[in-house]
Every structure is written in structure tokens, then in C-alpha cells.
């Protein structure tokens, strides 16, 4: 898993800014492929799940199901303010609970949206943390 983690990207009701920044990481300027990260073709091959968005009611159901299907051990990275604590949507009627009450989260990357450099730095820190633990 550490040599080349396969990342799976899922958006639970976000404004898509964080999603575009994650995709920007895959384009030639930032290019996380040099760290060995590839986009997983399906959830069954995923090592890391990147979650964006403030979980609204419809998406929380799907996220739970997706997390159950992922092979363990599976890391969850919360990207952007909305997935940290719902940010400004804390009083919204459609976003009842923050992300870490639905699935366990291993790393948090703040920002609205976090720049691609911040996302890469967060991902690298996560890998270092796991290597340190092993």
C-alpha cells in the first residue's frame, strides 16, 4: 500500500472546488503520480478515500455503504473545511452530522479550497505517519 497507494475520490455534497483542486493534483503541473498515487478504478481497489463536501442526508447513506465495501485497512482523508466540521453549513437543515461521526478519519486537510500544494503535503504527511507507525 505504501509504495503506490490507490486513491478513490468521493464527493458528499460539495461545491466542487475541492474536487477540482484534487483533479488539479493529477495534471502535469502538480502531478502526484510522482509520489506513486494513482486513481483507483473502483472502491474495491482503494487504499485511501479522499472525501470532500459537507455530508448531506442523501450522500451520507452512500458514503457509509462505500466505506463498508472498501477493503480494510483503508485510510480516509477529509479535504476542505466542509468535511472537517461542515464549515459554514453547520446550521443547514440538510447537513446533520460532521464527517467524522459517519466514518473514522485519519487525516484532515483544511482550506477552502486547499491549494494543490497543501493537498500533496497532507498526503505525504499521511504516508510518513503510516511508515512511522509500522
Amino acid at each position: 500500500m505504501l509504495k503506490s497507494p490507490w486513491v478513490f475520490h468521493f464527493s458528499t455534497g460539495s461545491c466542487n472546488n475541492c474536487d477540482i483542486e484534487v483533479l488539479d493534483c493529477l495534471t502535469p503541473r502538480f502531478d502526484i503520480e510522482r509520489f506513486g498515487m494513482l486513481l483507483a478504478p473502483s472502491i474495491k481497489h482503494a487504499d485511501v478515500i479522499l472525501v470532500t463536501g459537507s455530508c448531506n442526508r442523501k450522500s451520507a447513506v452512500r458514503l457509509k455503504r462505500l466505506y463498508e465495501q472498501a477493503p480494510k485497512p483503508c485510510l480516509v482523508v477529509a479535504i476542505g473545511e466542509c468535511s472537517l466540521s461542515r464549515g459554514m453549513f453547520i446550521y443547514s437543515y440538510n447537513c446533520p452530522v460532521p464527517l467524522d461521526k459517519i466514518v473514522p478519519v485519519d487525516a484532515y486537510i483544511p482550506g477552502c479550497p486547499p491549494k494543490p500544494e497543501a493537498i500533496i503535503s497532507g498526503a505525504v504527511k499521511l504516508i510518513e505517519k503510516i511508515k512511522g507507525n509500522l
Partner: protein, 394 residues
Amino acid sequence: MAKSVIPIGPYHPLQEEPEFFRLTVDGETVVDIDVNIGYNHRGIEKLSERKTFDQSTFVIERICGICSTSHPFAYTRAVEDIIPVEVPPRAKYIRTIIAEGERIHSHLLWLGLAGHFLGYNTVYMWVWKLREEILDVMEILSGNRNNYAMFKPGGVRRDINPDDIPSAVKKIDSIIPTLNRLKKAIVDDPVLHVRLKGIGILTKEDAIDYCALGPTSRASGVAKDVRKDAPYGAYDQIDWDMIVAENGDVFDKVVVRVLEVFESIKIMKTCLKNLPEGEIDLNIADIPPGEGIGAHEAPRGETFHYVRSDGTNRPARHKVRAPTFMNLPTCNSTVIGETISDAAIILASIDPCYCCTERIAVRNEKGKKIYSGKDLIRLSQQKTEIIKRKMRIK
């Protein structure tokens, strides 16, 4: 073009259920489509009633990330319409510059994704690299790549430093040669002509009946654009053209967007060079009771905001209507009757929020799922390969 297989893509692999677009097929033809939305519903209209008029601008910016300027632009125009009042000229020009910069980056993003759906992965990578240059320009002018936070009711929040303008103009000029090559490659490519012409036609009558907006309706011959019909900002002081096409198929939608990028570059450079001096903010103290309506031509169509004020410092009601709300139902008339290998590109040509087009499922008449969204994209790429091969043999 050299064959380069890029093993990664921008899309989310399909989740199991529920689906956004549920297509029912009979053999190879689509016979029914059902659209299921609500995955991004965060209750922003209710949230806006808790915030003051000024704080609401920050919430509104985060409705959509790709067109993050068009919602604050329409909202601030709606609040200014309650009084009603006009902002100073320098604020109008700055607003126009930011709005056009966003239009360029949004259309380039869409072009990259369309290239990926058709199997032109090199185009996808090129165009997104080009898009980074525009994001650098926006960072020079406003300080951020995405959520610019430049708008407030009464003007703009921050000024553009005149020392930054030459480097911004230089960066914009640096992408024009590549864009010209791209335009030639797209408009003259015979494979794209065969692949995209006559596919997913939205007739003019249907475009009017569904009240479609933006490039989706301009490609069908409906010559409506808020920047020309109800001019605001600096649009009536600059010479630019509205791009309209006649046939309403996917090829025309691509051409309309490509040509709009050039018009936006023209508007942006003219505004940067002729920025008038003066105030940037009216410093509005109180909003009187009343109603106001503001509209702005976002990259996808007209954004419409309706704000009602009851004299306090919070809106009594704020209605937001994004352009995709009116454009998505048109897929009922464009996709039904087409083959499944074209379904992915037809749905993408409306330019919805990009994650919508990936959550597709195709069922046969008994209701059994036979294809996923990823399969549809693969079918679409295969069709392009087949056409390319046929034309080389000729």
C-alpha cells in the same frame, strides 16, 4: 496524434446506487431517462436568512466552485436593485474582469473533460495545463485561485494594483497561440465532425419550451445573452460579439464554447488596459424594505437571484436559481432516441457540475443494470476510435 495511454482519469468511478441519470435502453437506443438530483442540496436559501447581507456573499460563493463568481455577482446586483443604485465605474470594470476570467477557466475545464470523454486524453492534459495559466492570472489579480471574495453589495472588496496589470496581460497573451492551435484542431478535425455532428440535437422550439440558457440554447439558434440584453458591468462599453450557432448538436455546443473563450480574452484585456480611476465601493449603510432581482451570464447560462428585504440587516428571502436547473431537463429531449455510446457526451454537453455526469446507470426494459457510467465513457471513447480507424483506411 501520438498514441499515449494515460492511466488516470478525472472521473469518479461509479458508485453502486442511487444514480443521477438512469437511462433505460432497448438494444442500443435510449428510450427513457430519469434524473435524480439532491446530492448537493445544502439548504443555502435557508442559511442565507440567518446571515447579514454582507456575510451572505461568502455563503453564496460556495454554491458552485466552478462558477464561484457568478453567484455573488448576481446576488450583489439583486441587493443593489432593491434600493436601486449603480456601482462606481471602476467597480464595474473590476467585476467584469473577474467574471470573464472565470468564464475562460470554466470553458477550458469543460473542454478538457469533453476531450477525455471522447478519448482525446492528450487534449485533456494540455487544456488543464493551459487553465493553470489563467488561474495564475486570477491569483495575481485577486489573491486566490478559486474563491476570489471580491464582491460585496455596493462595489468590490479589494482593488486591483496597477503594478500587477502588465504581468497579468502578459500571461493572458501567452496562452493565445496555444488556444489558436486548439481552435483549429477542434473546428477542422474531420473525426470530430463525424463523431459529434447531428448528435444530441436540441431544436429551437424545445430550447424555448424548456427555457434553456447559456451556450446550450445559443447553440440552438436562440440568440439570448444577459450581457447583451440587459447590459451591466462594463459589457456595454466594450466591443464584443455574441456567439450563436444554428444546429443545436453537440458539435455546435463545443464550437460556441471555444469561440466564447476568445471573446472573453478580448473583454478581459480591454478592461485591464482601460481601467478607470475612482472609488470601488459605495459603502451602502442600510437596505430599505423591498424586492430586488439580479442576473448574470455565468459560463453555463443565466444565474438569477431574487432578494427580499424587510428593513433589517438580514434578507427575508433569498431565492437562488443556477442555470443548470433549467438546462438539465433538456436531456429528456436530447438523449432519448440516441445510442448509448453517445449518451455520455450528450449529457456532458449541457455542462452540468462535472460530478453529475459520472453517476450514470443504464438499465434494460426489465430494469436490470447493464452498464455503468465508466462503461458509457469507455463506449464513447471506443466509438471515436472506430471512426478514426475508418477514416484512416479511406
